[in-house]
Amino acid sequence: MAEVSFKGVKKSYGRVDVVKGVDIHINDGEFVVFIGPSGCGKSTLLRMIAGLEDITEGTLEIGGRVVNELQPKERGVAMVFQSYAIFPHMTVRENMAFGLTIAGASKPEKEQKVAEAARILQMEHLLDRRPSQLSGGQRQRVAIGRAITRKPAVFLFDEPLSNLDAALRMDMRMEIGRLRRQLGATMIYVTHDQVEAMTLADRIVVLKDGEVMQIGAPMELYHEPANRFVAGFLGAPSMNFLIVDILDLDGEAATVGNQSLEPIRVATRSRPFRKGGKAILGIRPQYLREAPSGKGMLHGTVALAERLGSETVVDLMLRDDRELIAAFDEDKIFEPGDALELIFDTALAHLFPEDG
């Protein structure tokens, strides 16, 4: 069992800095998800843990031991790749036993561990097949099986589900969650799918351009985003951002408004603002509710309405020609051009400085 700890870790390819000084501490047995837009360095971080990439600067510790200079095999980690990376010429059984074969394990030991992994992954009936005779989800299960037979201290997953279709992805997501409870090992999981992140993680690390934006439990990140990037990244449809004028400012709250927004008081959460300046007001589409005429805080007209059955997503044009998305949790008919007034709980709104 092992903790993983990045201390001031940097990674550069030539003059391009890909990871720009990252400090993350992952506890023993924790399930941590790295999430961020494409190219932000998630895979690079994971590959540094595995030992597939050199660390340019800083230290990486696994189980309290600095591993910067250690070979992949000396680190006690297992990795599951997006492209499965299972050996095409071996049967499922041989693939799952690969790490044991390499370590020179005895036949009965291999048999027993493969059988156990196959039972956990519910694929006993597939053991004698070759990868070409498996579906995508089954292949990924083989890759996971190969990882668990060795009982590593740290599991690394690099977008393991992104090659699967939506239904299968959900099954596999639940399976990974179950696996995690059974194995209790430290797991680090890279994804750009926020549903995976929200449902699986103990803590999420949000990355952007090689820097950590925020680390925290899923709900913490959702409800208390540290900055505008995290606020906009998590949640679907993503948070609305309105440019507002700061009309008044006192200790803990600011009064803000603009052409389409009646003045409201929003907590500043000790972020710096200046009276008379501008700020960004963030409000999630799900928190907006329809208001009776003349009582709304936000005024706009319907541009487009999408009925999804369980919810209705409305695209509004505000008075100042900015767009706003509202999601109502019921099936409702809106006609383009209808005037619409909205209210929301101001405690659920976030105020960010204009530059971040």
Partner: protein, 355 residues
């Protein structure tokens, strides 16, 4: 569909015609000509009319027999020995020229071995052809594995991200782009018995202990010398094929193997080699074909000598067809070669089939 392809596609067929005609004239027709001519007594220039002779040419080439010679005995029934104590045997000619054994007529000794008091002699109606056949097989049996293996090692060495690796790739590939005739000429100098490069180097390396060898003039070294030179010449070509195969193997498989703890050798055994299976089949088939077609090196370097130790099938086919103007004999050798190569290809295909 068939009618559409064959009938209504006039333009297509018109375009294909020149290439098609060339293939027919230079590949298909000669192929059937060779089979046809091998059944006649056709000569290149001859006043006599051509006659159909059936399989006589094949019989003439492939005729093989084993005879056992018993020691000569004196009147008392004792084995006759010469002064050195060696057992005396009757002359082989007594059999091959005797009217008692018409089936052995005209055959000559190929090789013999002692078994007890008797000696067993293998006689062939065309000993030179037999030697050519054995030499060709020997050449393929040695060159195919050695050249393929060496090419694989080279391709593994140059399949790395190193500064200047392309210089090495170019150097190894260079002999391939030089004409085999030129290469053969150069190697004749290298193998020269007096002051050839090879002798000089060996002489220098052993501080003068090494006695110069006439590599191409000695029956026991001529064929190995040609093998070595042939391996060197085409190894770069097969290296490139292996390299192409290596680059089709997904890098993530190597990463997965590294994380699972595989050593260099284990990585090769479990990832690289299985990934090269199809390439291996290709390389082996190509080398086998090239090996059976061995000609230019022989023609330039040894002319089949010394003492027929470097005769090969293709060299014999050309030598007979054009040197001795015996077109039917040359054709017969070509057909036999075709059957051999076809058989080996089918066997290889069967051995490497998808299971």
């Amino acid at each position: 569909m068939a009618s559409k392809l064959t009938l209504s596609n006039r333009t297509g067929w018109t375009f294909a015609l020149p290439g098609f005609a060339l293939i027919v004239i230079f590949v298909v027709l000669p192929f059937f000509f060779a089979i046809g001519l091998s059944l006649t007594n056709q000569r290149l220039l001859s006043p006599n009319p051509t006659q159909f002779v059936g399989v006589e040419n094949y019989r003439q080439l492939l005729g093989l027999a084993v005879v056992t010679l018993e020691p000569e005995r004196d009147d008392a029934g004792e084995v006759v020995r010469n002064e050195a104590g060696e057992i005396q045997y009757p002359r082989l000619r007594k059999i091959t020229r005797s009217n008692d054994y018409p089936q052995y007529r005209g055959m000559r000794e190929w090789f013999r071995w002692q078994s007890g008091e008797n000696v067993t002699v293998v006689i062939a109606s065309d000993v030179v052809f037999m030697k050519a056949l054995v030499n060709t097989f020997l050449f393929v049996l040695v060159v195919a594995p050695v050249q393929a293996g060496l090419a694989l090692v080279l391709s593994l060495l140059i399949n790395q991200k190193l500064r200047g690796i392309n210089v090495f790739r170019t150097i190894y590939f260079m002999p391939v782009v030089v004409s085999i005739v030129v290469v053969s000429l150069l190697w004749r100098f290298i193998y020269d018995g007096q002051n050839g490069l090879l002798n000089s180097i060996l002489h220098g390396l052993t501080f003068g202990l090494f006695q110069p060898v006439d590599w191409l003039g000695n029956p026991s070294t001529a064929l190995p010398a040609i093998m070595a030179m042939s391996i060197w010449q085409a190894v770069g070509f097969h290296m490139v094929i292996w390299l192409a195969g290596l680059q089709t193997i997904s890098p993530t498989l190597y990463e997965a193997a590294a994380i699972e703890g595989a050593s260099k050798w284990q990585t090769f055994r479990y990832v690289t080699w299985p990934g090269l299976r199809n390439t291996a089949v290709l390389v082996l088939i190509v080398i086998t074909m090239q090996g059976f077609a061995l000609f230019a090196q022989i023609d330039v370097m040894t002319n089949g000598g010394p003492r027929d130790s470097t005769q090969t099938l293709v060299f014999q086919a050309v030598e007979r067809g054009y040197g001795k103007q015996d077109i039917s004999g040359g054709s017969t050798i070509s057909v036999i070669l075709f059957v051999i190569v076809l058989t080996i290809s089918l066997i290889q295909r069967w051995l490497t089939r998808e299971r």
